[in-house]
Symmetry: C2
Subunit: 147 residues, 2 copies
DNA sequence: CTCCAAATTTGGTGTCTATCTAAATTTTTC
DNA sequence: GAAAAATTTAGATAGACACCAAATTTGGAG
């Protein structure tokens, strides 16, 4: 939470991490390779590096699983994606389009910039492609008024 | 105007082109190298490639100058930059900050996305870092109501 | 329990972008 | 014209991403 810049991982690796997060628990190399339409060896290489950076635990031949750090980071990536998509949706893009375009540009947004936009938007709870969780957000819990 | 995707040049080359455009007429290698704090040879290499793509005319040892295509493209780049900065400024960033951050993310915005945002913003004439010219904009002239 | 097929990893390559240094070349200036 | 300044060329490096072919490991069938 404290030291994230938003540029710790290259955009491809960040995509892999987000995917692993969304699949939950143990994810296999082949699954990732198929999802992103790349050769398994390409994924293995990326996974090794992501593991070296501490975001996942890689048990050769058995798949990967997020570490606590990886989980935290993946949550940031998802939050960033949804905030960027939300901004785009407010500038003339249809929900699906906003989500698609967001994937192309989100990697450019630093943690800081993301947080600034989040605050400016009033820590919205919903985007066009899912909920936005603020647990690990810029300025504490913004869970909304539940009671 | 017709075929621009916004990704014709790598982000560095696009920065060089924008700089050449802003300096006007003939620009020297050393000037560019100094501005971006890179070795002259790095610039020469990039310039050669930008010239090959048709955006500039490079007369060895004498500098470069934009071609009509390059001028058109540079205008798009400037317009994109200012639109992105404007969007950021509307999301909690101070003018100077918005301009600075825009430089980091603008290369991710396609021509199409830029045009969509432009329309959504009502073809604004001013951004936080200069005027926005719509001559070569998405849907013709939006020069405002001059008379 | 053995053996083969499927999954995965290794090792080697290639491409692209961006950078640098050092050496060669051209232009400019005195 | 010759030295100085600017520029280009050539050769290397580095990171990201991708592929293929070969080796390794796993897991299921018999």
């Amino acid at each position: 939470m404290q030291g994230i810049t938003g540029h710790e991982l290259s955009s491809k690796k960040a995509e892999y991490l987000k995917y692993i997060h969304m699949q939950g628990d143990v994810v296999k190399t082949t699954e990732i390779a198929a999802h992103f339409s790349v050769a398994p060896s390409t994924v293995t290489k990326a996974l090794t590096e992501i593991a070296k950076a501490g975001y996942i635990e890689h048990t050769p031949y058995h798949g990967v699983r997020l570490t606590p750090l990886g989980t935290e980071y993946a949550r940031f990536l998802v939050r960033r994606h949804r905030l960027v998509a939300l901004v785009l949706s407010r500038h003339g893009l249809e929900p699906e389009e906003a989500c698609r375009e967001a994937k192309k540009i989100e990697q450019c947004f630093s943690k800081d910039l993301t947080d600034r936009m989040c605050t400016s938007l009033g820590h919205p709870m919903m985007s066009v492609c899912g909920e936005i969780e603020h647990d690990a957000c810029c300025c504490g819990s913004h869970g909304g008024y539940r009671g």
